[in-house]
């Protein structure tokens, strides 16, 4: 039993890293643009399918394939922003942006169905199926690689936000859009690039999801987006560190409950969200960490 619990905690932390990759993009987009990108879930799946195609047709390694899929997803993100989101203004903007991204999600999901069909796919590589014996556990290599990749990408995003000129203009836009515009920041460009970056990291998240989830199809996006939303609210909307902590926390809790009853594990996910919000409506980290500093 004790071994099972340790195992569940290690699993939770490692898979939490994968979820952090997807959640970070969502929370970044929220922090800068003040919109919730419902399409994030299906974009993760799109990223997984892109990796799948590269691996199946060109026999490209999954991690090397990211060099192609990440820029591709960046472009897709920028296009979505320019075509649909840029024009939305005014009182109903919250609801409007939500509907637009929901609509984009529906369209992408439909296209994925048309292209790849409803059958479940999985990403395969040598390191997906082989394990390493570490601290008494057998861990698939891909979990370890993925966790390292997740940490590296989150760190890179942090560096981008806090150590570059672009990051400074992003944070200025987050603090006060009008003031940022006044001092000469091209707010539209910042927003477009942020949306692109937020979508681009899902390519990595999607690849990891495709390799670790045991199968995905176009419909998997719904399950994903609801979990991601729970994570970013729990972490505090707009907080990158919060997203990382909340992903690991949620996935560990889920993985612990999974020992007892797999069917109820997902409910605990949402129940934890509701309970935490009852106590602390701003989530673990509020909206401050990204905005401060």
């Amino acid at each position: 039993m004790t071994a099972e619990i340790y195992r569940a905690i290690v699993d939770g932390i490692l898979i939490g890293g994968v979820y952090a990759l997807m959640a970070v993009g969502l929370t970044l987009i929220f922090g800068v643009l003040d919109i919730i990108n419902i399409a994030q879930g299906v974009l993760v799946i799109l990223g997984a399918y892109l990796s799948y195609e590269l691996a199946a047709r060109l026999h490209l390694d999954l991690f090397l394939g990211l060099l192609v899929t990440v820029p591709a997803m960046f472009i897709i993100g920028v296009v979505i922003y320019w075509a649909f989101i840029r024009r939305l203004r005014g009182r109903e903007r919250t609801a409007m942006t939500l509907l637009v991204t929901y609509a984009v999600a529906l369209i992408i999901e439909g296209l994925l169905y048309l292209w790849w069909g409803p059958n479940f796919k999985q990403l395969n590589a040598s390191y997906v199926n082989s394990s390493v014996h570490l601290l008494g556990f057998y861990l698939p290599y891909v979990y370890l690689y993925g966790f390292v990749l997740a940490l590296a990408l989150v760190a890179a995003l942090y560096a981008l936000l806090y150590r570059t000129k672009f990051g400074r203009s992003v944070r200025a836009t987050m603090q006060d859009e009008t003031a940022a515009r006044l001092i000469g920041i091209d707010v539209n460009r910042v927003a477009a690039v942020t949306f692109g970056v937020g979508v681009a990291v899902t390519a990595a998240g999607g690849m990891m999801y495709g390799a670790t989830s045991g199968g995905f199809n176009p419909n998997s996006g719904y399950d994903l987006i609801s979990r991601l939303l729970a994570i970013i609210i729990l972490g505090g909307m707009g907080s990158i560190g919060g997203a990382l902590v909340a992903s690991i926390f949620m996935l560990t809790v889920e993985s612990l409950v999974d020992i007892w009853s797999p069917n109820w594990a997902i409910i605990v996910f949402y129940a934890a969200l509701v309970i935490v919000l009852l106590i602390r409506p701003t989530g673990f980290f509020g909206r401050q960490p990204v905005r401060a500093q």
Binding site: F30, D34, I36, F84, R87, L88, G90, R91, E92, T94, A95, M96, L98, L99, V100, Y102, A103, V104, A105, L106, I107, E109, G110, L111, Y113, L114, Y222, S226, L229, A230, I233, M237, N263, W264, I266, I267, Y270, A271, L273, V274, L277, L278, P281
Partner: protein
Amino acid sequence: MTAVKLYKPGAILVVAVVAIAFPFVFSGPVDTNYGVYALIFVTAVSAWNLFSGFSGYISLGQAVFFGSGAYTVAITAHDWHVTGTAVFALLPLAAVAGGAIAVPFGLIALRVRRHTFIVITIAVFFIFQLMATNFSFTGGTIGIAAPFLPWQSATFNNPFYFIALGCAAATIALAWLIRRSRFGLQLRAIKDDEDRARGLGVRTMWVKLAALTLSGTITALIGGVWFLYITQVLPQSGFDPLFDLAIVLMAFLGGIGTIWGPVIGALLVEPGRLYLTTKYTNGYLGEILLGALLLAVVLFLPRGIVPTGGEWIRKLRTRGRPAITPSAPAAEETASVGGNR
């Protein structure tokens, strides 16, 4: 002026006559099926609008009530061995269940606003869908079938048509009453500026909760009707994410916060959706088209048919003489009110 005053009741009378005559003119089961679905959605969208449209709290968890109503009728009929037309006596129970679920739902979700509120409604929705899948008394993934109704298949749809019509008419009337009442004004004050409304003495939490409960009660009732009509409920069909989305789309297309907007939106979209699902059975193309329609509505008709249409009519009427132009911030509000006067 009398002509204008008579115009509105006259229009309502015409709509009522058309609605009642519909199943007699188009009496085939295929046609009445369209009618039943359209009216179920008129009711559901109007109920959504009672809370979300008036208060500005966009809920994407309305299927919680719809599915709960369906499951309430299903479970009680199954466990108490209710058969035949007696099942219709269970519908009030569905309504009560909807209201009972709305209270704790609201107490949790209404503590937060805007995005967080929307996401909480989505989370609650998924909790309910998972509960329906995992509990044994809901029949799990197999769901529950409705008792057999001993009606002829040619006219099977007609009683449902009139029940749904009754629900729709009552909901529209209720929306009209609320919009004119103090309660409706309080809701709209919350939509405009919740903190200021509270400062002016509106008990915002109570008002929001009352509206959500009312909306949940009606939605659960029509969910029960839907279950008896379709004769089966599954976790995916009772708690359907596309249901939430479709409702919001219909409300936005018609114009949220108005009385007739949701009605027009539902009447336009639901038959089209039904047609697409019967024509393209795989559903993918229908999904893409629904998404594209949603995009088009938000980008090109962001305020909906009723407010925009009302503005055009006013422009036509005031052509040639100086219209009274309200100051800029009030313009939007006047326009949306003007649409359904």
